[in-house]
């Protein structure tokens, strides 16, 4: 198995888009941290960049990469290799190279300017988001045979998680403002990895005071070690569940 993923990584690293992505992240993170006078302000800007750009690039790039690998997968399938091993190798290859791009482009800069628990958490969240949206891209690519449909599906998924989901949450908050739904909101936020990552970081930044009563409830949960552990477990589940679904589907797929 390690033989294949070596070839996948070599192939992706040669791809100019990943290099470009690394440079854009590097440029953004360097300029954000040098423009803002305090590093916590820079961190907040970085958070917004990570929550928008990372999922989008990972989703679109991975989906397109999977479609472009159709021939590669066909070639490997005629060899004595397990389907499991082929799919895992592609996933690990994508995770490694996109994760590396994020770490070089943003991770190192964040850790230099903000060498604290908060900075570390932001880097870990960024890496987890990379893995999550790579897994979701694999699922989108395996479910649809048509390339245009597959890419469309991943754009819709990104729109949903990055924008529409928040709209639904806001709508619910206003509709049921008279009811005690704060605890329920914690559960709802688990359903969106982007929101979960955002809340996790914000709770570490002492801005929760601005969020009123909901902020206090969130702080009680996401501020504790147990809450952080549960959130990270949820994020890891967000990597595993879409990937396992795609793997199950790939094993039965006709090529």
């Amino acid at each position: 198995m390690n033989k294949i993923y070596k070839h996948v990584i070599a192939d992706i690293i040669r791809n100019r888009i990943v290099l470009f992505y690394t440079l854009i992240l590097l440029l953004a993170s360097l300029s954000v941290f040098s423009l803002e006078d305090t590093s916590s302000k820079g961190l907040l800007s970085m958070l917004n960049i990570i929550l928008m750009i990372v999922p989008l690039v990972c989703l679109i790039f991975s989906t397109i990469y999977m479609y472009n690998s159709t021939e590669f997968i066909e070639l490997l399938l005629s060899q004595p290799l397990q389907r499991n091993a082929i799919w895992w190798s592609l996933f690990i290859g994508l995770m490694t190279s996109l994760g590396l791009a994020f770490f070089v482009g943003a991770g190192i800069v964040i850790l230099i300017f903000e060498p604290s628990f908060l900075g570390l958490m932001l880097v870990i969240c960024g890496l987890l988001l990379t893995f999550i949206f790579t897994a979701i891209a694999l699922l989108a690519a395996v479910l649809t045979k048509d390339k245009a449909k597959g890419i469309g599906l991943s754009i819709i998924l990104w729109l949903f998680y990055a924008i529409i989901f928040d709209g639904i949450v806001l709508f619910m908050l206003f509709q049921w403002a008279d009811y005690p739904i704060e605890k329920f909101m914690i559960f709802i936020s688990m359903l969106n990895p982007i929101d979960l990552a955002r809340i996790l970081i914000l709770m570490q930044m002492d801005v929760s005071a601005l969020m009123g009563y909901t902020g206090a409830i969130f702080k009680d949960f996401f501020g504790t070690t147990g809450g952080i552990a549960i959130s990270f477990t949820t994020l890891i589940l967000w990597v595993m569940i879409p990937f396992m679904c795609s793997l199950r589907y790939f094993k039965k797929k006709d090529l």
């Binding site: 033989k3 294949i4 070839h7 192939d11 040669r14 472009n68 690998s69 159709t70 021939e71 590669f72 066909e74 070639l75 490997l76 399938l77 005629s78 060899q79 004595p80 290799l81 397990q82 389907r83 039965k252 797929k253 006709d254 090529l255």
Partner: protein, 232 residues
């Protein structure tokens, strides 16, 4: 030795394979023929498990292949209209395959030499013509000394000289006792190679007969004449 038992496959509302039952004995050279869309490629792909049949099973050297993968080491497959990762060059594709199959020490590079592939190792797969890609596919199929060769329209797109080289190679491997399954539409070039014929139509096997039987039945020498006599 390959036996397929009652293989059926459906793509959407189209029944591509209906209860296919064929046998490939060791040393046999089988021509898989039939009109376009008769299910030849799907049958070949289900032997390789690239297509998973809805029902039935494939027995390879006495073992059911369902969920297996190691058996593919013994098969050399040359796909129809070969497609390869476009941004890799020929040399990279071949060295990658050798890297994946590290356990296989005994490489057969005869075709690579005869096609002078080493001189164009630096060319990218995406820039190659269809015939050139077929040559790479042929080289890969023979490279690991497989027991069984499965060639899906091997000569389509090859120039006459190259397809003659391939034919001689198939004959050579046949003389060594290897089994071969060739799907082709060019019946005239199959004459001297094959020992058996499987004719498929509408996802069904119309007949599987040895060349000798066909000759006696039809009193013809040419395969194309035999087939047209039988079908008519």
């Amino acid at each position: 030795m390959i036996i397929t038992e009652h293989i059926s496959k459906r793509f959407g509302n189209q029944q591509v394979l209906r209860d296919i039952h064929i046998t490939c004995r060791p040393g046999a050279c089988i021509a898989l023929i039939g009109p376009n869309g008769s299910g030849k490629t799907t049958l070949i792909k289900s032997i390789l498990q690239m297509v998973i049949p809805d029902s039935g099973k494939v027995i390879f050297q006495g073992e059911d292949i369902t969920g297996q993968w190691a058996y593919r080491a013994k098969i050399g497959f040359m796909p129809q209209m070969t497609r390869y990762p476009e941004n890799m060059c020929i040399g990279e594709v071949i060295s990658m395959m050798i890297d994946i199959r590290k356990d296989q020490k005994n490489l057969d590079e005869e075709l690579i030499e005869q096609y002078h592939l080493k001189e164009i190792y630096h060319k990218r797969m995406g820039t190659l013509s269809g015939g050139m890609r077929q040559k790479v596919g042929a080289c890969l199929a023979f490279l690991f000394q497989p027991d069984i060769l499965i060639l899906d329209e091997p000569t389509a797109g090859l120039d006459p000289l190259s397809s003659e080289i391939l034919k001689q190679k198939i004959l050579k491997e046949k003389a060594r006792g290897k089994s071969t399954i060739i799907s082709s539409h060019v019946l005239s070039e199959l004459d001297e190679m094959i020992t058996e014929v499987i004719y498929m139509q509408d996802g069904q096997v119309l007949f599987q007969k040895t060349l000798e039987d066909l000759k006696q039945e039809t009193q013809e020498v040419k395969l194309s004449k035999m087939i047209s006599k039988i079908i008519a």
